[in-house]
């Protein structure tokens, strides 16, 4: 272990062989999977590599901190260019000139005007790079963070590597996105450790789902500088004219130009904040733009730094559940602020920011992209990415998400949530669960997580009962301990009003259940592969590897919007699942067959239960589509209809999961069906046409009625 660490200090990029080793370890199947975490880039707390950065802040002056000398060493020892120089360079780039001309032609406004507006946006963007602003932020954030969190743990090893990488080549910071606080925290940490503050590409809308993001930026971000934000929006709005896409591209590209010689760029590969605390399918647009400078040879290499941020408790937890249930969110302007100030009074436990090992794009892309394909068209002109580039970008984006997942820390609360969800919600709300029984199960689960190579955030040197009760205390908005039993807390709002219809009761339980589900999701990545295999073993009697594999592939395909699987790695994922199950002693594996061991039943049934909410929700919707729904429908019709149906079934006791009510699950089903071509989007309006036969077939496989056929071919077809 120490050998690995000393090596990583001398050379921040993994050497090729190491990469291969790790590649196979991380992504592949072998037993190394578990050891790889420990080998590479800081394991859990027990290694004492994480340092609480708030500790120091609690002991010294925040003002002094804000005025400390901030002297980051720039990349490549290049002379630091001033903001003005940088902006000029961007403005004079051929790409921007081209875009300005395009936009001018489209909007009919004179070129000078468009140019000026572009200039304005650039100035706006580069302001976060100015020191005064950074200092102000650092002061405010010190105050806020100390109030919100008991500690913010950072792995120093990762920071050191980042520091080194930032001097050697352009760095892209890629945090997962669970809360608005994410990027504030990162900037804050970097400021603390003299690393150039990143340019953030987070405010950019990189998709048409405006209704999803519209309110986002305001609440916390808005706390700190609402006026600046508004300014940006107006500027954006005007410069865009009629082509929001262009603007987005334009802005991101300028950002890329800026990061090339200056600050690191930071963006969320998942595109947006995950409402379910589960990793999202990565978005490729920004990723492609970030990688393009390497593809086109404009930089020697790019370092991607996956950052895993794990919250013990997420600031927006109740907001998220409401959003998922389609409960209209309060208007951001006033209520958002109100909410935010209420948020400030609560305690959110500790958070972990785990800076991953910088990944060399050059090494990762070796053999995956033929860079000479960019030789024949001027590099500054916008170009549609080739299939090869798309595949490479997609692969890399998925890889980053998985590295993020592996780097994140699982809290005892996540384990508790996973177990609580396996008890029917109504039972949990009314009768509750025996506390001792829960504790016992959690300790069992802790062992399983470690067997599967997950990273736990389990405080050391503290009695287990202590850990459990402090966890429950921190989450008293969701669970409450009463008389040796633990109960689910239902939404507090209706308490003030009077309980209404049974449907409303369902919604109340649902919001608590979905909160639990979110925290369970934080741990899902550890279980998902073995759990899919366990599910496959439930669906078929056969224990033949081949048959299980094809079922496994089918499940992966169906759920690939739900969980992150790197494309074209189904069989490796399967092998990994087998190995993990074998490792924890659940199955024995021979050449052809899997046999369940005596002790394996407990593991398997836990895993099967873990997947059950997904299977049930999907089945419900598939059945709805092929039996009740119209052959042509829109998303707007689909969501409430499914919600109604699910509510009805929950009331009648036929459905045990509340996750079918989540808009996230519902949208994922649609996306999965579209990908599997059981659903086609009609070009005229935003309606879909169902291929009922194909939906029915999927439903039947999912319920184990028929075995999947020639599935081997399908997973590879997509990308």
């Amino acid at each position: 272990m120490s050998a690995t660490h000393s090596r990583s200090r001398t050379c921040f990029f993994m050497k090729n062989d190491e990469r291969v080793r790790r590649g196979s370890a991380r992504l592949g199947s072998s037993k190394r999977l578990t050891t790889s975490y420990k080998d590479l880039g800081g394991a859990g707390l027990e290694d004492e590599e994480f340092l609480d950065i708030l500790e120091e802040r609690r002991q010294s002056s925040d003002l002094g901190f804000a005025f400390r000398t901030f002297n980051p060493s720039p990349y490549n020892a290049a002379p630091p260019s001033s903001t003005a120089e940088l902006n000029r360079a961007v403005l004079e780039s051929q790409y921007l000139r081209y875009m300005v001309k395009e936009i001018a032609t489209e909007t009919g406004s004179p070129v000078e005007q468009v140019r000026e507006e572009a200039c304005g946006i650039l100035n706006e963007m580069s302001q976060n790079l100015q020191l005064g602003f950074i200092r102000l932020m650092s002061y405010t954030l010190s105050k806020v963070f100390k109030r919100l969190f008991s500690s913010i743990f950072v792995n120093m090893e990762g920071l050191n590597m980042l520091q080194q990488a930032a001097q050697e080549c352009p760095v892209i910071l890629m945090p997962n996105h669970r809360s608005y606080v994410d990027f504030l925290v990162i900037s804050y940490i970097l400021y603390s450790y003299d690393i150039p503050i990143p340019v953030i590409a987070a405010g950019i809308r990189n998709s048409g789902r405006d209704e999803d993001r519209g309110g986002d930026s305001a609440s916390l971000w808005g706390l700190f500088y609402p006026t600046r934000h508004r300014l940006r929006q107006t500027l954006l709005g005007r410069a865009v004219g009629i082509r929001p896409n262009d603007c987005q591209k334009w802005q991101s590209n300028s950002l890329c130009l800026m990061q090339r010689g200056f600050a690191p760029l930071e963006f969320y590969v998942e595109g947006f904040r995950s409402r379910t605390l589960k990793s999202l399918i990565p978005k490729f647009g920004m990723m492609h733009m970030v990688l393009e400078p390497f593809f086109k040879g404009e930089v020697y290499d790019i370092a991607l730094v996956p950052i895993s941020i794990s919250y013990e408790r997420v600031l927006e937890e109740s907001l998220l559940a409401h959003e998922l249930l389609g409960v209209p969110k309060p208007r951001e302007s006033t209520m958002g602020l109100l909410k935010a100030s209420r948020v400030l009074k609560d305690n959110y436990g500790c958070m972990h920011v785990n800076f991953g090992r910088p990944l060399s794009v050059r090494q990762l892309c070796e053999g995956k992209i033929n860079r000479s394909q960019y030789n024949l068209i001027p590099r500054d002109l916008p170009q549609k990415p080739t299939a090869e580039a798309q595949a490479c970008v997609s692969w890399l984006a998925h890889l980053i998400v998985r590295v993020q997942e592996e780097g994140s820390l699982i809290s005892p609360w996540s384990l508790m949530a996973s177990l609580l969800l396996q008890v029917p919600a109504t039972v949990l709300a009314q009768e509750g669960l025996l506390w001792d029984q829960l504790t016992e199960r959690i300790l069992w689960l802790r062992k399983l997580v470690l067997d599967f190579g997950g990273r736990l955030n389990w405080p050391e040197g503290v009695p287990e009962s202590e850990v459990m009760s402090s966890t429950a205390a921190l989450h008293r908005s969701v669970v409450r301990r009463r008389a040796g039993r633990v109960h689910l807390v239902e939404d507090d709002q209706p308490e003030r009003k009077h309980p209404g219809s049974p449907e409303e009761a369902v919604m109340r339980t649902a919001s608590a259940a979905l909160m639990l589900a979110s925290y369970r999701n934080q741990a899902l990545h550890v279980f998902v592969r073995p759990a899919l295999l366990a599910t496959a073993m439930r669906l078929t009697k056969s224990r033949q590897k081949g048959e299980l594999l094809s079922l496994f592939c089918f499940l992966q395909d169906v759920f690939s919007n739900e969980f992150i699987f790197i494309p074209d790695r189904s069989s490796q994922d399967f092998e990994e699942a087998c190995c993990l199950l074998k490792k924890c002693g659940a199955v024995c594996i021979s050449e052809e067959e899997l046999t369940v061991s005596d002790t394996g039943v407990e593991v398997l049934s836990f895993l099967q239960e873990l997947m059950k909410p997904f299977i049930d929700s999907y089945q419900l919707m598939l059945r709805y589509l092929c039996e009740e729904g119209d052959p042509v429908f829109s998303e707007k019709e689909f969501l409430p209809a499914v919600r109604n149906l699910a509510t009805k079934l929950i009331l009648s006791g036929e459905l045990h999961t509340y996750e079918a009510l989540s808009s996230d699950t519902q949208k994922n089903v649609l996306a999965a069906l579209r990908r599997m071509e059981a659903l086609t989007k009609l070009s005229s309006d935003s309606k879909y046409r169902v291929n009922k036969a194909s939906v029915r077939r999927s439903e039947e496989i999912l319920s184990g009625k028929i075995p999947p056929q020639n599935l081997q071919a399908t997973p590879d077809a997509r990308l």
Binding site: G297, Y300, S372, D380
Partner: protein, 633 residues
């Protein structure tokens, strides 16, 4: 200083002299242009060589004046003398006999080399390691009857089995000899070549044309799988200027002539070709044609393809040539372009008519210092945009600038060294140039005096816009002088565990900086990964400008102490560097050619169809693969 090229004589004198020499030339060779007569003459010459050919640089037995296992003349080499100072021996070059005080420090600090750690070469060729020749008796018999000189002496054969790639020289220094030609023939004229090729076809003998032997693409390596008798066809004795046409300003020259002879002989008549590749001391006209060579002064005179008016090549199918000397033709694809760059796979170039120009009236060197390589490239780009490039303009990066500095000979007077110090002070302290970032461009202007001065001003004005400071003629001139001795330096390095080589590419303007940075970085990274103990020298320069791009040269060398197989490491790194070049939009080669070293990339370079086209030409022209050096395809 500006020098009158004709040593200060007046114009009228010069013209008179020149006319005289031309007339003399005519008198010597009354029968020019008549091939039939020429053939007869050709024999006679064999027995009684004419006066001028005695002055020729290259004798049949090259080893008499040239190193068998290194670059250039035997009498010229770098060494560390007893005092540990670097010295260049011989009398041939301006640097000859001089002490170079800075070189040792530079070598020690750049490579971590050490004078104590020597890797001497095998002093003499051990002929016992050489395989005895596989002779085709029938071919030898008939060849004898033609009277064309030939040899199967070991030294002759070994000398023609290699070019100057690192691995070739390294093997020679270790005394390792692989497959070599089985015999060497020295045709004396076009007709001799025709006979040799006919005989080779008749007896199925493999022919490998040999010109100056300066190839850096493994083009001269004998394919190890070749089972036939391999005959090296050395064109060095076909080295006459057959005629000069002053009305059209062309000269008809035998293809074996080496650059320095061609230039000297033309100069005697007041002309020049202006084609000056760095290898011009030893490389031959035929070799230039066969590899699509490029000369330093191409901005005025053009590259070889612009200079060639008419080519005669002997192929297994017969002789290929055009019927007239029209300056441009629209007669289908230009057949010259099958010949140019054919790398000896189709036949032997025997005679070439090429453009000549009156010798320039005035020459002036110059140099400009830029604060950074980026600004230097920007300046070159602007010069190209305004199409006002001087005869030559080259931009060295910082490492090369330092290297050039290290090669400064000892100055005789205190005054000069004081002046140097002052210059350095002015640039680094007064102008604030960073010594570790600045770079220098060397310039050469040629032509009419007034125009040169005017031109010079224009270029310096552009340079000033990019922060460039004129840095004197000396620096410029030394830069160009160094191009001829730099090749000798590799042999010195190889005496002390340092191996290296240069390679080149051409690239569009917008990628010049990127390719330079990326390839240099790749070299450093690869060396590290391959276990090279010391940081390598990885440097580049922009040597040619075009409207749409530039030619970039990379120099790469490292200390190989501690490596089991240094040549293999070297080759891996060079391979990676070439991959990097291609990935960054650079070409496979600007003028070195493909040979066997780079042929694995031919298909991606010219597409499948392109390879097919070349193949079908080869199949038609040489169905039996008589010209079996297996270059290119």
């Amino acid at each position: 200083m500006a020098s009158d090229s004709n040593g200060g004589s007046s114009d009228s004198q010069r013209i008179a002299q020149h006319r005289l020499s031309v007339i003399a030339g005519h008198l010597q060779r009354p029968a020019e242009g008549y091939t039939a007569l020429l053939a007869a003459e050709c024999k006679a010459q064999g027995s009684k060589p004419d006066v001028s050919s005695d002055e020729r640089t290259v004798p049949r037995r090259r080893q008499e004046i040239m190193k068998w296992n290194g670059w250039g003349y035997s009498d010229s080499r770098f060494l560390f003398n007893k005092k540990g100072q670097a010295e260049f021996t011989g009398k041939r070059y301006r640097l000859s006999g001089m002490i170079i005080p800075g070189l040792r420090d530079w070598m020690e600090s750049t490579f971590g080399a050490n004078l104590q750690h020597k890797t001497p070469a095998v002093p003499v060729l051990n002929s016992s390691v050489v395989q005895p020749p596989t002779l085709n008796e029938a071919f030898v018999g008939e060849l004898k009857s033609t009277g064309i000189p030939f040899s199967h002496d070991v030294e002759d054969r070994v000398f023609r089995a290699h070019g100057h790639c690192l691995h070739e020289i390294f093997a020679l220094r270790e005394g390792k000899i692989g497959r070599i030609p089985d015999m060497v023939v020295w045709p004396n004229c076009h007709n001799d070549v025709v006979k040799i090729v006919e005989l080779a076809c008749k007896h199925n003998v493999c022919l490998i044309p040999y010109g100056g032997g300066t190839s850096v693409s493994s083009a001269l390596e004998c394919p190890p799988e070749e089972t036939r008798s391999i005959v090296s066809l050395d064109t060095s004795q076909m080295n006459r200027i057959l005629w000069i046409d002053e009305k059209n300003l062309t000269a008809h020259v035998e293809a074996g002539i080496v650059g320095q002879d061609l230039e000297r002989l033309l100069n005697e008549s007041g002309y020049c070709t202006g084609h000056e590749p760095d290898s011009m001391e030893f490389s031959s006209l035929g070799g230039w044609v066969a590899t699509r060579a490029s000369g330093m002064k191409k901005n005025i005179y053009g590259n070889i393809e612009d200079l060639v008016i008419h080519v005669k090549m002997v192929t297994p199918r017969g002789v290929i040539e055009k019927s007239c000397q029209g300056p441009r033709m629209s007669t289908g694809p230009d057949i010259h372009h099958f010949i140019l760059g054919s790398e000896g796979t189709l036949g032997v170039v025997t005679e070439v008519t090429m453009k000549i120009r009156p010798m320039p009236e005035y020459q002036k060197y110059g140099s400009v210092v830029f604060p950074s390589f980026e600004q230097g490239v920007a300046c070159l780009r602007e010069v190209a945009r305004q199409r006002c490039a001087p005869a030559s303009i080259r931009l060295m990066d910082n490492e090369q600038f330092k290297f050039g500095h290290a090669l400064k000979p000892q100055v005789s007077s205190i005054f000069t060294s004081f002046l140097d110090g002052l210059k350095k002070f002015y640039i680094t302290k007064f102008k604030g140039f960073d010594q570790d970032r600045l770079c220098v461009a060397t310039l050469l202007f040629e032509g009419n005096r007034e125009r040169v001065l005017q031109h010079e001003k224009q270029v310096y004005d552009i340079a000033a816009k990019f922060g460039g400071l004129a840095a004197g003629e000396d620096n410029g001139q030394r830069g160009y002088m160094l191009t001829f001795v730099i090749a000798y330096l590799r042999d010195l390095g190889m005496d002390y565990y340092v191996i290296g080589e240069s390679f080149e590419t051409s690239v569009p303007w917008d990628r010049v900086l990127d390719i330079c940075r990326n390839v240099k970085a790749r070299i450093v990274r690869e060396c590290k990964d391959k276990g090279v103990q010391f940081p390598p020298l990885s440097t580049c320069r922009v040597t040619q400008t075009y409207d749409a791009g530039a030619c970039v040269y990379f120099y790469f060398a490292f200390n190989y102490r501690g490596l089991a197989d240094p040549v293999h490491v070297y080759e891996q790194v060079e391979h990676a560097a070439r991959e990097e070049i291609l990935a960054n939009g650079g070409s496979l080669s600007h003028h070195h050619g493909v040979g066997k070293l780079r042929k694995e990339w031919m298909r991606e370079t010219v597409s499948n169809v392109g390879v097919g086209m070349l193949k079908s030409v080869k199949d038609y022209v040489d169905p039996d693969n008589i010209f079996g050096n297996r270059n290119l395809l």
